[in-house]
């Protein structure tokens, strides 16, 4: 497993309760893992802790153990170890801009350049990543003039250009139009073949189409972890407001769990 949390608690500075409580989880390559829950359940915090950004950047206090790519990512040694090997996408792409680049191409090259790669390798990685997320037409634009959706794709390209082993994506489609969102979700299964892909979102309707594993959080604790149908098809997930629209409709209509999650599954079950 590339990321392992064992008995982790985390509390933000000045907060009066824990954002994560006794979380024990492991993530590895092969799965697209969806982490979901109500807002405030701790989904984003889980990604920050896995990357070591909490508590290293956010402050606050963590207990329990976190091992990412063989080391504690919040320790000095761990941070050296994971540099360039974790791709972290923030839900607010404008806060992730380097502020050092005049074109999108330079922005996408920022990460690889900082890893000290040779010039031709950077060029190849940047072109490949821009093609992958479909932003070649933006190559010469000033990143500061892009719309939120365009910027979110630029940031995703910047991360994939570094070819990281772990991708931690926090609401990666928040700013995207429906086509952009579909494109991002389509990329994930292929990326997950060799990388550890963990996606935190409340956009369960779309995410469930690609997720192979779901972790459901409630007030900082893991309440379910497993195959999408087993985690989200339950009364509990629907009652929490964390399942799909289709599951919710099936439950309101009076059907019994397990609920179908997608339109396709509902048709299989209800069509006559």
């Amino acid at each position: 497993m590339t990321v392992a949390l064992d008995g982790v608690r985390y509390r933000y500075p000045a907060a009066d309760s824990d954002a994560l409580r006794d979380v024990t989880l492991a993530f590895g390559a092969g799965d697209v893992t969806l982490v979901t829950g109500r807002l405030g359940a701790g989904c984003s915090t889980l990604l920050l802790v896995a990357a070591g950004l909490a508590p290293h950047v956010t402050g606050g206090a963590r207990s329990g153990s976190v091992t990412t790519l063989g080391a504690d990512p919040a320790s000095d040694e761990g941070r050296r170890q994971v540099a360039g090997r974790i791709g972290f996408l923030l839900p607010t792409p404008w806060t992730q801009l380097s502020g050092m680049s005049y074109t999108v191409r330079e922005e996408v090259a920022f990460g690889p350049a900082n890893l000290g790669w040779p010039r031709d390798r950077i060029g190849r990685a940047v072109s490949g990543a821009m093609a992958l997320v479909g932003i070649e037409h933006l190559a010469d634009r000033d990143p500061r003039t892009l719309s939120g959706g365009e910027l979110q794709r630029v940031m995703l390209a910047g991360i994939t250009a570094m070819d990281p082993e772990v991708l931690l994506l926090d609401e990666p489609t928040l700013e995207l139009d429906p086509e952009g969102a579909r494109m991002v979700y389509r990329l994930l299964p292929a990326l997950a073949r060799e990388k550890t892909v963990v996606l935190a979102t409340t956009d369960v309707d779309r995410a469930v189409e690609v997720a192979t594993r779901v972790v459901l959080l409630d007030r900082g604790s893991v309440t379910a972890d497993g195959a999408p149908d087993d985690v989200l098809g339950t009364d509990r997930a629907v009652a929490l407001g964390c399942s799909t629209t289709v599951a919710e409709i099936a439950r309101v209509a009076g059907h019994a769990a397990p609920f179908p999650l997608t339109v396709r599954a509902a048709v299989r079950r209800f069509a006559r």
């Binding site: 405030g40 839900p91 700013e175 995207l176 139009d177 409340t202």
Partner: protein, 272 residues
Amino acid sequence: MSALRFERVWFRYGENPVLRDLSFDIRAGEAVALLGRNGAGKTTVTKLVVALLHPERGYVRVGDRTTEGRAPEQMAHQVAYVFQHPDQQLFARTVWAEVAYAPKQLHRDAPGVERAVGEALERVGLDAMHDEHPYDLPAAQRKLVTLAAAIAQRPRVLVLDEPTQGLDRAGARRVADIVRRIKEERVAVLAVTHDVTFMAEALERALVLAEGRIAFDGPAADLVGDEGRASDLGLDVPPAAQLSAALGLPQRPLRAAEVAAALAQDLDADRT
């Protein structure tokens, strides 16, 4: 008379024309979704309404006056604007002060301010939060604070930029309820959104922007219930409407509650 009118409006950023000869009208009490791909000019339209921007050609009229020569603060007695990201908008030290700011600036007397703030906070369900610092609240509630501030302005036109973005299902539902109620009070609502479920639940008319022009203007139900047309315009169909079509439910309901009711009838028919 229309509450908001765009008449042959042109606008460009530098060399890039964003709006080309855009015209539309919104009546009092009408709730309209403004849709379109990333970069289509949706946010530009909202900034023109509140006079943060002015047309290069054509005019924007709110009530009986155009925005020509007017500054945003001169629009505040007629138009309220809820930003896409609450953190770009919030500035006061308490929730109460945040929501009271506009009514005070609009020279309401003290009991008038008190009443407007109290009602607005009750409407969004934050009446117990008067003394909280907005930044101590979770993101979803910060968004509701900005919505309350807009309600307290008692505008004729309410402009919302992605009002459900980043909210979980419960939060999005609450915003839909709030918007339905505002509309009943004869306020004209213009909501930029990618969230077609929110549109189906709360807005009755859709304007789709493409290439700086109107690509569709008609009942929201005509987009929500027509997958081919929606997909041509780069839009999704909400899962509830997809399910309704896929199961061939009688009268093709589009809203989640109606789809669940139709499915429940099916279930009852099976039982008897």
